[in-house]
Protein backbone atom coordinates (compact mmCIF):
# COMPACT_ATOMS: atom_id res chain seq x y z
CA UNK A 1 0.00 0.00 0.00
CA UNK A 2 1.43 3.31 -1.11
CA UNK A 3 1.38 6.42 1.03
CA UNK A 4 0.70 8.52 -2.04
CA UNK A 5 -2.77 9.82 -2.82
CA UNK A 6 -4.35 8.84 -6.11
CA UNK A 7 -5.27 11.74 -8.41
CA UNK A 8 -8.47 11.26 -10.40
CA UNK A 9 -8.11 12.20 -14.05
CA UNK A 10 -10.63 15.04 -13.96
CA UNK A 11 -8.65 17.04 -11.39
CA UNK A 12 -5.68 19.26 -12.07
CA UNK A 13 -3.76 18.41 -8.91
CA UNK A 14 -4.19 16.82 -5.48
CA UNK A 15 -4.93 20.12 -3.78
CA UNK A 16 -7.81 20.78 -6.18
CA UNK A 17 -9.08 17.24 -5.64
CA UNK A 18 -9.12 17.64 -1.87
CA UNK A 19 -10.75 21.06 -2.15
CA UNK A 20 -13.48 19.54 -4.35
CA UNK A 21 -14.15 16.81 -1.75
CA UNK A 22 -14.53 19.38 1.01
CA UNK A 23 -16.65 21.71 -1.13
CA UNK A 24 -18.94 18.88 -2.20
CA UNK A 25 -19.50 17.86 1.40
CA UNK A 26 -20.24 21.46 2.43
CA UNK A 27 -22.84 21.76 -0.34
CA UNK A 28 -24.43 18.55 0.95
CA UNK A 29 -24.40 20.04 4.45
CA UNK A 30 -26.26 23.11 3.12
CA UNK A 31 -29.03 20.80 1.89
CA UNK A 32 -29.04 19.14 5.33
CA UNK A 33 -29.37 22.54 7.01
CA UNK A 34 -32.44 23.24 4.86
CA UNK A 35 -33.83 19.74 5.47
CA UNK A 36 -33.74 20.29 9.23
CA UNK A 37 -34.63 23.93 8.55
CA UNK A 38 -38.12 22.89 7.47
CA UNK A 39 -38.68 21.22 10.83
CA UNK A 40 -37.23 24.19 12.72
CA UNK A 41 -39.58 26.46 10.75
CA UNK A 42 -42.54 24.31 11.77
CA UNK A 43 -41.37 24.58 15.38
CA UNK A 44 -40.98 28.35 15.04
CA UNK A 45 -44.52 28.78 13.67
CA UNK A 46 -46.27 26.57 16.20
CA UNK A 47 -44.32 27.91 19.13
CA UNK A 48 -45.21 31.47 18.13
CA UNK A 49 -48.87 30.42 17.79
CA UNK A 50 -49.08 28.36 21.00
CA UNK A 51 -46.33 29.59 23.36
CA UNK A 52 -47.94 28.47 26.63
CA UNK A 53 -48.88 25.01 25.29
CA UNK A 54 -45.26 24.55 24.19
CA UNK A 55 -44.02 25.42 27.69
CA UNK A 56 -46.42 22.91 29.26
CA UNK A 57 -45.37 20.22 26.75
CA UNK A 58 -41.61 20.85 26.88
CA UNK A 59 -41.64 20.51 30.67
CA UNK A 60 -42.36 16.79 30.20
CA UNK A 61 -39.18 16.01 28.23
CA UNK A 62 -36.41 14.08 29.97
CA UNK A 63 -34.12 17.05 30.56
CA UNK A 64 -31.39 15.09 32.36
CA UNK A 65 -31.02 12.56 29.54
CA UNK A 66 -31.16 15.33 26.95
CA UNK A 67 -28.43 17.25 28.76
CA UNK A 68 -26.21 14.19 29.20
CA UNK A 69 -26.62 13.56 25.47
CA UNK A 70 -25.60 17.16 24.77
CA UNK A 71 -22.36 16.63 26.68
CA UNK A 72 -21.81 13.27 24.94
CA UNK A 73 -22.23 14.78 21.47
CA UNK A 74 -20.02 17.79 22.23
CA UNK A 75 -17.32 15.42 23.47
CA UNK A 76 -17.69 13.25 20.37
CA UNK A 77 -17.11 16.36 18.27
CA UNK A 78 -13.81 16.81 20.15
CA UNK A 79 -12.70 13.23 19.46
CA UNK A 80 -13.66 13.69 15.79
CA UNK A 81 -11.79 16.98 15.49
CA UNK A 82 -8.71 15.29 17.00
CA UNK A 83 -9.11 12.27 14.70
CA UNK A 84 -9.11 14.59 11.67
CA UNK A 85 -5.94 16.21 13.02
CA UNK A 86 -4.10 12.93 13.71
CA UNK A 87 -5.19 11.53 10.33
CA UNK A 88 -3.64 14.57 8.63
CA UNK A 89 -0.42 13.80 10.52
CA UNK A 90 -0.60 10.15 9.45
CA UNK A 91 -0.91 8.93 13.06
CA UNK A 92 -2.72 5.68 12.31
CA UNK A 93 -3.07 4.25 15.82
CA UNK A 94 -4.18 7.54 17.39
CA UNK A 95 -6.76 8.00 14.63
CA UNK A 96 -8.12 4.50 15.19
CA UNK A 97 -8.41 5.09 18.95
CA UNK A 98 -10.15 8.43 18.46
CA UNK A 99 -12.63 6.97 15.95
CA UNK A 100 -13.32 4.10 18.36
CA UNK A 101 -13.97 6.64 21.13
CA UNK A 102 -16.33 8.53 18.82
CA UNK A 103 -18.21 5.29 18.13
CA UNK A 104 -18.49 4.57 21.85
CA UNK A 105 -19.85 8.07 22.48
CA UNK A 106 -22.29 7.59 19.59
CA UNK A 107 -23.43 4.30 21.11
CA UNK A 108 -23.84 6.05 24.47
CA UNK A 109 -25.97 8.72 22.82
CA UNK A 110 -28.18 6.17 21.08
CA UNK A 111 -28.50 4.07 24.25
CA UNK A 112 -29.57 7.09 26.29
CA UNK A 113 -31.96 8.08 23.49
CA UNK A 114 -33.52 4.61 23.44
CA UNK A 115 -34.07 4.71 27.23
CA UNK A 116 -35.50 8.20 26.89
CA UNK A 117 -37.97 7.06 24.20
CA UNK A 118 -38.97 4.18 26.45
CA UNK A 119 -39.66 6.62 29.30
CA UNK A 120 -41.63 8.93 26.98
CA UNK A 121 -43.84 6.04 25.86
CA UNK A 122 -44.38 4.87 29.44
CA UNK A 123 -45.28 8.44 30.42
CA UNK A 124 -48.00 8.57 27.69
CA UNK A 125 -46.28 11.16 25.55
CA UNK A 126 -47.00 9.64 22.14
CA UNK A 127 -49.12 12.42 20.58
CA UNK A 128 -51.34 10.14 18.47
CA UNK A 129 -52.34 7.96 21.44
CA UNK A 130 -55.72 8.16 23.14
CA UNK A 131 -53.93 8.18 26.47
CA UNK A 132 -51.79 11.24 25.66
CA UNK A 133 -51.79 12.96 29.00
CA UNK A 134 -51.27 16.66 28.27
CA UNK A 135 -53.62 19.57 27.68
CA UNK A 136 -54.34 21.84 25.81
CA UNK A 137 -54.33 19.97 22.47
CA UNK A 138 -51.47 21.97 20.88
CA UNK A 139 -49.14 20.16 23.31
CA UNK A 140 -49.57 17.30 20.82
CA UNK A 141 -47.97 19.50 18.15
CA UNK A 142 -44.90 19.96 20.34
CA UNK A 143 -44.67 16.22 20.94
CA UNK A 144 -45.09 15.44 17.24
CA UNK A 145 -42.20 17.79 16.50
CA UNK A 146 -40.21 16.24 19.36
CA UNK A 147 -40.53 12.72 17.94
CA UNK A 148 -39.88 13.75 14.34
CA UNK A 149 -36.93 16.04 15.07
CA UNK A 150 -35.14 13.81 17.59
CA UNK A 151 -36.00 10.74 15.48
CA UNK A 152 -34.49 12.14 12.29
CA UNK A 153 -31.52 13.41 14.26
CA UNK A 154 -31.04 9.90 15.70
CA UNK A 155 -31.13 8.51 12.14
CA UNK A 156 -28.31 10.93 11.30
CA UNK A 157 -26.30 9.79 14.32
CA UNK A 158 -26.79 6.20 13.17
CA UNK A 159 -25.66 7.03 9.63
CA UNK A 160 -22.63 8.85 11.07
CA UNK A 161 -21.73 5.80 13.16
CA UNK A 162 -22.04 3.60 10.08
CA UNK A 163 -19.64 5.93 8.26
CA UNK A 164 -17.18 5.77 11.17
CA UNK A 165 -17.31 1.97 11.23
CA UNK A 166 -16.51 2.00 7.49
CA UNK A 167 -13.65 4.49 7.88
CA UNK A 168 -12.30 2.59 10.91
CA UNK A 169 -12.26 -0.67 8.93
CA UNK A 170 -10.57 1.01 5.96
CA UNK A 171 -7.85 2.52 8.15
CA UNK A 172 -7.46 -0.82 9.96
CA UNK A 173 -6.88 -2.54 6.60
CA UNK A 174 -4.68 0.34 5.38
CA UNK A 175 -6.91 0.60 2.33
CA UNK A 176 -6.27 4.31 1.75
CA UNK A 177 -3.32 6.64 2.40
CA UNK A 178 -4.25 8.22 5.73
CA UNK A 179 -2.43 11.55 5.62
CA UNK A 180 -3.09 12.22 1.92
CA UNK A 181 -6.82 11.42 1.95
CA UNK A 182 -9.69 13.68 2.97
CA UNK A 183 -11.96 10.74 3.92
CA UNK A 184 -11.61 11.28 7.69
CA UNK A 185 -12.04 15.02 7.29
CA UNK A 186 -15.28 14.93 5.29
CA UNK A 187 -16.78 12.24 7.54
CA UNK A 188 -15.84 14.56 10.40
CA UNK A 189 -17.70 17.45 8.73
CA UNK A 190 -20.85 15.32 8.57
CA UNK A 191 -20.51 14.33 12.24
CA UNK A 192 -20.06 17.96 13.30
CA UNK A 193 -23.25 18.89 11.45
CA UNK A 194 -25.14 16.24 13.41
CA UNK A 195 -23.71 17.83 16.55
CA UNK A 196 -24.74 21.31 15.33
CA UNK A 197 -28.35 20.19 14.84
CA UNK A 198 -28.41 18.86 18.41
CA UNK A 199 -26.92 22.13 19.70
CA UNK A 200 -30.16 23.80 18.57
CA UNK A 201 -32.57 20.92 19.30
CA UNK A 202 -31.52 20.68 22.93
CA UNK A 203 -32.49 24.21 24.09
CA UNK A 204 -35.66 24.22 21.94
CA UNK A 205 -37.01 20.84 23.07
CA UNK A 206 -35.61 20.35 26.57
CA UNK A 207 -34.88 23.72 28.16
CA UNK A 208 -38.25 25.40 27.50
CA UNK A 209 -40.64 26.04 30.40
CA UNK A 210 -38.26 24.93 33.15
CA UNK A 211 -38.20 28.02 35.38
Amino acid sequence: MSDEAVLATHFHDLKQQEEANTLGLWIFLATEVLFFGGLFTAYLIYRSLYPSAFEIAAKETEVLIGTINTFILLTSSLTVALAVKTAKQGLRRATLVLIALTLLLGLGFMGAKAYEYYLDIVHHLWPAAESFKLNPPPTRIFWSLYWIMTGIHAVHVTVGMGLWVTIFTMIWRRSFPLAASSKVEITGLYWHLVDLVWIFLWPLLYLVGRA
Binding site: A30, G37, S52, Q89, G188
Partner: protein, 133 residues
Amino acid sequence: MAEARAEKEQGFRFRDLFPEAFVWLALILLASSSWLIAYLPVGSFHTVAALGIAAVKALLVVIFFMHLKHSSAVVRMASAVGIIWLMVLFTFTLSDYLSRATGEGVTSGPNGRPPAFAPASPPVDQPAPRAVR
Protein backbone atom coordinates in the same frame (compact mmCIF):
# COMPACT_ATOMS: atom_id res chain seq x y z
CA MET B 1 10.58 5.61 4.24
CA ALA B 2 10.17 2.81 6.77
CA GLU B 3 12.05 4.86 9.34
CA ALA B 4 9.92 7.87 8.62
CA ARG B 5 6.81 5.80 9.16
CA ALA B 6 8.15 4.35 12.40
CA GLU B 7 8.78 7.88 13.60
CA LYS B 8 5.28 8.92 12.64
CA GLU B 9 3.82 5.94 14.47
CA GLN B 10 5.31 7.21 17.73
CA GLY B 11 1.85 8.51 18.32
CA PHE B 12 -0.16 11.19 19.90
CA ARG B 13 1.53 13.93 21.88
CA PHE B 14 -0.10 15.93 24.65
CA ARG B 15 0.21 19.18 22.72
CA ASP B 16 -1.84 17.69 19.86
CA LEU B 17 -4.85 18.10 22.14
CA PHE B 18 -4.83 21.86 21.66
CA PRO B 19 -6.54 24.10 20.64
CA GLU B 20 -9.37 21.55 20.24
CA ALA B 21 -9.49 20.78 23.98
CA PHE B 22 -9.97 24.48 24.79
CA VAL B 23 -12.81 24.71 22.28
CA TRP B 24 -14.42 21.64 23.88
CA LEU B 25 -14.07 23.22 27.33
CA ALA B 26 -15.74 26.39 26.07
CA LEU B 27 -18.58 24.31 24.56
CA ILE B 28 -19.12 22.44 27.83
CA LEU B 29 -19.12 25.66 29.86
CA LEU B 30 -21.58 27.28 27.44
CA ALA B 31 -23.87 24.23 27.55
CA SER B 32 -23.74 24.23 31.36
CA SER B 33 -24.63 27.93 31.54
CA SER B 34 -27.49 27.35 29.09
CA TRP B 35 -28.79 24.60 31.36
CA LEU B 36 -28.48 26.82 34.44
CA ILE B 37 -30.19 29.82 32.84
CA ALA B 38 -33.16 27.61 31.85
CA TYR B 39 -34.01 27.21 35.56
CA LEU B 40 -33.60 30.87 36.53
CA PRO B 41 -36.65 33.15 36.71
CA VAL B 42 -35.64 35.50 33.90
CA GLY B 43 -38.89 35.50 31.90
CA SER B 44 -38.66 36.03 28.16
CA PHE B 45 -34.87 36.27 28.38
CA HIS B 46 -34.87 32.43 28.33
CA THR B 47 -35.37 32.12 24.58
CA VAL B 48 -32.84 34.84 23.78
CA ALA B 49 -30.23 33.30 26.08
CA ALA B 50 -30.84 29.72 24.87
CA LEU B 51 -30.61 30.61 21.19
CA GLY B 52 -27.74 33.07 21.69
CA ILE B 53 -25.66 30.48 23.52
CA ALA B 54 -26.55 27.85 20.90
CA ALA B 55 -25.41 30.24 18.16
CA VAL B 56 -22.08 30.85 19.90
CA LYS B 57 -21.59 27.08 20.31
CA ALA B 58 -22.43 26.53 16.65
CA LEU B 59 -19.90 29.18 15.63
CA LEU B 60 -17.19 27.54 17.76
CA VAL B 61 -17.88 24.15 16.15
CA VAL B 62 -17.98 25.57 12.62
CA ILE B 63 -14.89 27.76 12.95
CA PHE B 64 -12.58 25.45 14.89
CA PHE B 65 -13.86 21.86 14.49
CA MET B 66 -15.00 22.24 10.88
CA HIS B 67 -11.96 24.35 10.01
CA LEU B 68 -13.84 27.20 8.41
CA LYS B 69 -11.09 29.37 9.89
CA HIS B 70 -8.62 27.91 7.39
CA SER B 71 -11.02 27.19 4.52
CA SER B 72 -10.98 28.75 1.08
CA ALA B 73 -13.46 31.43 0.06
CA VAL B 74 -15.54 29.04 -2.04
CA VAL B 75 -15.99 26.62 0.90
CA ARG B 76 -16.97 29.51 3.18
CA MET B 77 -19.54 30.62 0.62
CA ALA B 78 -20.98 27.10 0.39
CA SER B 79 -21.26 27.02 4.18
CA ALA B 80 -23.00 30.42 4.22
CA VAL B 81 -25.53 29.40 1.55
CA GLY B 82 -27.38 26.99 3.85
CA ILE B 83 -27.72 29.64 6.56
CA ILE B 84 -28.77 32.37 4.11
CA TRP B 85 -31.57 30.26 2.60
CA LEU B 86 -32.63 29.20 6.09
CA MET B 87 -32.99 32.88 7.04
CA VAL B 88 -35.05 33.46 3.87
CA LEU B 89 -37.29 30.53 4.85
CA PHE B 90 -37.74 31.84 8.42
CA THR B 91 -38.31 35.45 7.38
CA PHE B 92 -40.89 34.88 4.67
CA THR B 93 -42.77 32.23 6.65
CA LEU B 94 -42.94 34.38 9.75
CA SER B 95 -43.94 37.48 7.80
CA ASP B 96 -47.05 35.50 6.85
CA TYR B 97 -47.88 33.92 10.20
CA LEU B 98 -47.08 36.91 12.40
CA SER B 99 -49.32 39.18 10.30
CA ARG B 100 -52.41 36.99 10.82
CA ALA B 101 -54.57 36.60 13.89
CA THR B 102 -54.25 32.92 14.70
CA GLY B 103 -53.19 30.92 17.71
CA GLU B 104 -54.06 30.82 21.37
CA GLY B 105 -56.19 33.96 21.57
CA VAL B 106 -58.46 33.33 18.58
CA THR B 107 -62.00 31.98 18.96
CA SER B 108 -62.42 30.61 15.45
CA GLY B 109 -59.98 29.34 12.93
CA PRO B 110 -59.13 31.05 9.66
CA ASN B 111 -61.72 29.02 7.77
CA GLY B 112 -64.53 29.82 10.16
CA ARG B 113 -64.49 26.59 12.17
CA PRO B 114 -64.25 26.70 15.94
CA PRO B 115 -60.81 26.04 17.44
CA ALA B 116 -59.94 22.63 18.81
CA PHE B 117 -59.70 23.95 22.37
CA ALA B 118 -61.12 26.74 24.51
CA PRO B 119 -58.86 29.81 24.55
CA ALA B 120 -57.47 30.93 27.87
CA SER B 121 -57.34 34.60 26.94
CA PRO B 122 -60.12 36.84 25.50
CA PRO B 123 -60.51 36.65 21.73
CA VAL B 124 -58.75 39.19 19.54
CA ASP B 125 -60.00 40.72 16.31
CA GLN B 126 -59.60 38.41 13.42
CA PRO B 127 -59.34 39.00 9.70
CA ALA B 128 -62.04 38.08 7.21
CA PRO B 129 -62.22 34.32 6.58
CA ARG B 130 -60.11 33.16 3.67
CA ALA B 131 -61.59 31.24 0.79
CA VAL B 132 -61.60 27.50 1.45
CA ARG B 133 -59.59 25.67 -1.14
